[in-house]
Symmetry: D5
Subunit: 130 residues, 10 copies
Amino acid sequence: MPKPQLLETFPNPYADRDYEIFMETTEFTSLCPLGGIESDAAELLLLEGGAPDFATIRITYRPAAKCIEAKSLKLYFWSFRNDGIFYERAVNRILDDLVAVCAPKQMTVVGDFNVRGGLKSVISVRWPQG
Amino acid sequence: MPKPQLLETFPNPYADRDYEIFMETTEFTSLCPLGGIESDAAELLLLEGGAPDFATIRITYRPAAKCIEAKSLKLYFWSFRNDGIFYERAVNRILDDLVAVCAPKQMTVVGDFNVRGGLKSVISVRWPQG
Amino acid sequence: MPKPQLLETFPNPYADRDYEIFMETTEFTSLCPLGGIESDAAELLLLEGGAPDFATIRITYRPAAKCIEAKSLKLYFWSFRNDGIFYERAVNRILDDLVAVCAPKQMTVVGDFNVRGGLKSVISVRWPQG
Amino acid sequence: MPKPQLLETFPNPYADRDYEIFMETTEFTSLCPLGGIESDAAELLLLEGGAPDFATIRITYRPAAKCIEAKSLKLYFWSFRNDGIFYERAVNRILDDLVAVCAPKQMTVVGDFNVRGGLKSVISVRWPQG
Amino acid sequence: MPKPQLLETFPNPYADRDYEIFMETTEFTSLCPLGGIESDAAELLLLEGGAPDFATIRITYRPAAKCIEAKSLKLYFWSFRNDGIFYERAVNRILDDLVAVCAPKQMTVVGDFNVRGGLKSVISVRWPQG
Amino acid sequence: MPKPQLLETFPNPYADRDYEIFMETTEFTSLCPLGGIESDAAELLLLEGGAPDFATIRITYRPAAKCIEAKSLKLYFWSFRNDGIFYERAVNRILDDLVAVCAPKQMTVVGDFNVRGGLKSVISVRWPQG
Amino acid sequence: MPKPQLLETFPNPYADRDYEIFMETTEFTSLCPLGGIESDAAELLLLEGGAPDFATIRITYRPAAKCIEAKSLKLYFWSFRNDGIFYERAVNRILDDLVAVCAPKQMTVVGDFNVRGGLKSVISVRWPQG
Amino acid sequence: MPKPQLLETFPNPYADRDYEIFMETTEFTSLCPLGGIESDAAELLLLEGGAPDFATIRITYRPAAKCIEAKSLKLYFWSFRNDGIFYERAVNRILDDLVAVCAPKQMTVVGDFNVRGGLKSVISVRWPQG
Amino acid sequence: MPKPQLLETFPNPYADRDYEIFMETTEFTSLCPLGGIESDAAELLLLEGGAPDFATIRITYRPAAKCIEAKSLKLYFWSFRNDGIFYERAVNRILDDLVAVCAPKQMTVVGDFNVRGGLKSVISVRWPQG
Amino acid sequence: MPKPQLLETFPNPYADRDYEIFMETTEFTSLCPLGGIESDAAELLLLEGGAPDFATIRITYRPAAKCIEAKSLKLYFWSFRNDGIFYERAVNRILDDLVAVCAPKQMTVVGDFNVRGGLKSVISVRWPQG
């Protein structure tokens, strides 16, 4: 399960200025929630979900009172490592967790997933709407 | 014949949020509807249409109640493999089939076809108009 | 002389939809209208114009009732091969010829010419104005 | 089934010189021989093999008396389109068929296959043995 | 623990020819064997090792009687996912496991690890020596 | 400590024209303000802050009466070399110092920091507020 | 001294159409107006200004009655070769000279100068204002 | 017909040193010797051969007493413009013509032809053999 | 002063195999030993040497009994940060220090320094000779 | 005239080790020795030679007792700025001048000249002969 309790913030040192922070990891990995591993292998691998997924996650936000602490964000991403989660859920969940913890003026999260079955998928979400 | 009956959807897990999904395959192939193969070869090849075409297909949509299931999209693309179809028809057809199955808020489909006779062609369609 | 009579069209199969077609060749060649070849060589080369020019031509249009047939466009481009024509004339001429034959809703033509004398030139024209 | 009877040759116009010819297609496609398509979809798709494979094929050879005719090579590649064949077999088979038809001094064939399940595969074969 | 029992082989279909097979994944991940996660986070993350490592693994071999089955190789790579293992051990271990299962004429394994602390590391091993 | 007293300006030679100046260094380096170096090493290294950070800094401004002198900007960047400073502070500080010294019509500063812990960070600030 | 008297124009062959011309040289060179060469070397080099500067110059304009003749533009650029001139002056001067000679509807000039002292500079000017 | 009489040489200014000269054009064009143009278009186009071919030609040689004059090489390449010639003939012919005119110690000619029918071709020839 | 006492090793886990380790940092920085900073600025900057230098350092070695510990290598590189040292000395010094600490079978060190005054420098050293 | 008297050396700090130094400038410029400028322009431009040439110069050498001082090399390159010199002469001359001043164990000089008339030229020379 993603663990938002790992996320930490620090006070925005220039809270009176409207500016933008972009953070990107090319090392996001989770598991496909559908079992895609045949039974013997599944037993050997001890993976509760299915096949590993890999993505680049890009976060852009305009901080209000709080900034996201980078190291805690890294740990939060690690908490997806052994969870089965669909692409759409993962990206929307990250947005919700980050908005909850730092209450930004605006935030977008993009999940750019590696090719699977010849198909690349990119999910882009934004807060607030419109 | 393209087979939209292969397409499947799943309920949008974040249907109350307006967000964007991009899906891309670099492995789309169909046949040119014009016979471009001389008779003996045509007989040997048993291709009903003409020469193979190759394209990258890019789909961008904002889901409403339903999302397109990725594996079914892959199978749908495969159903063009042995059909003769013009570029303009193929791309418009994909848009129509996908809109019919998932009723998105908005969708664009781009077909970026490999060079033929020294000419590259890219067809871009959008739904709804305007 | 460019030969617009080589251009052919076919009925737009989705004429009720507003969409975009992009066609590009990296193999456009014409001749410089200024004699840049010294006399003996000119005689041997039998080139009526001057030095060869090379360009990438990019066409983007929104079809109305008619689409441009790709093979005929290729032949039309070939008809510039042994003509002396300035960059500005060539690009504007292509726009005029294509608009005349397919009466699009909108069209742009870009001619991106190879470096000559250390200078690269790109000419971009659009129809209709504004 | 690959159809080597589609391959044609022409006499090497410079047979007294030892030189090298390289030919490459980025548009090779065949089918996986393992059924990877669930039954309903398989019925709809009418594919005798399994999922499509895509590859770049690179041929390098030093011609002796005969050169491979390019258009016939293209048709020969098309004859793999609807066959189920493993990577290793496809590349070795191409080498055998081409050597049989043109009897070169030397030939290498490389099949560079698209990523499947996160794995890229490249098979390189050579004739005669080194 | 890496699980070589997941590896499968198939008979080399062209065992009388000396040729080369290259396989690459950009999605290898394991854990650093050193605890790099502070205690509370470690408890939450339930990672037995330390911080995740990511690498591209490249395998090149000349098959003798047996070829490595691609899907089983993918599963074998997955078995490193939750193990703590140093770079040098991981790459040498992969070589040992693959050689044991397919007894190739020759094999090299390259592990190209993502930057850590501003340092990129690439380990290259070969069998047999010399 | 960053030393804005190193910054120099020269009169804008075309002060009656509204134009844009972009300046970029790929060689910005400062120190992380958090101690990330274990004690013995820290003593040997004599670094007052922690681990070195590296960034590309991009400045875009529309000059009013004064332009920033390039060489003095380089020296100003050097004054961050041995200071511990957070990313957000560094970029906002640079904006404040440059605005103070040259009073531009508009300025943006972007700090594009190297990957740390698998995370890339880019901070973008602008003056005056939009 | 830059020599605008080298610039020539020709009548816009499609003066009734609003279109765009882009011209670029990657071979612009001038001298830094500050003496950066120590005395003995300066005497040997006979350079009146200081160290050479190099830039890519990009011109985009919408012609009115006149187009800039490419060869004359090349000669005009050469006239900066042995002059000491600051970046800001050079780019603004080019805009003024070109506007004076061809009276375009609109023009932008961008000077993209090579790195000096680890700093890259790009100056962008436009006519008319706003 | 290619016109080697256009080629000129100049005395090698460092004939006592063994060195290498590389010359490359990305603007080589000739015609396919096979009629690939339907009759009406052929009449309009007045092309004696068939469809245009485009190539990059790369020449590497070690000069003996004579060097090839660059401008004359350019004219020589132009003499292929309206000739129908096969790839293999063109590249071997260029080698023969250049060797005849400058008698180098060694020369290679590579013709790297644009994709036709999805196939790229590169021909490499060398003098002397071995 | 570079501080080799920061370097640590660990026992080669596969000491009976001859293999290769490559390590690269793009974040090496030192100071130019020549004073290149005018006096007032020098006083403000408190840099004992001159202008900062930046380089990518690439190390390739075949370990014998000991491998270089990555984190300690990073700290060793940091010890150059505030030292004035010439390119040639830095690269040779790194080789000497690393060979002394890990006694490899073979090692090369490459220092690829950023452009200064329009000149890029790369120094490559190897141990043992020959 | 190129001025080798500008070149300076410093004692090789590791003269007992056989190693390699690479230096590259992308900012070499000289003049074509052939008058390529029509008379009026030539008078205005005051260029004694013809049109400017631009090149990247790459020097690789194994130093013996002396290394080439980088700043003096830069000044030496500047001394070609207003001289008319053929490509072959320039590159051979640079080799001769550099060998004369630093007496290396081995040196290569490569001059990679910008496209002129659609032709790129690269001259590679080496000392001593192979």
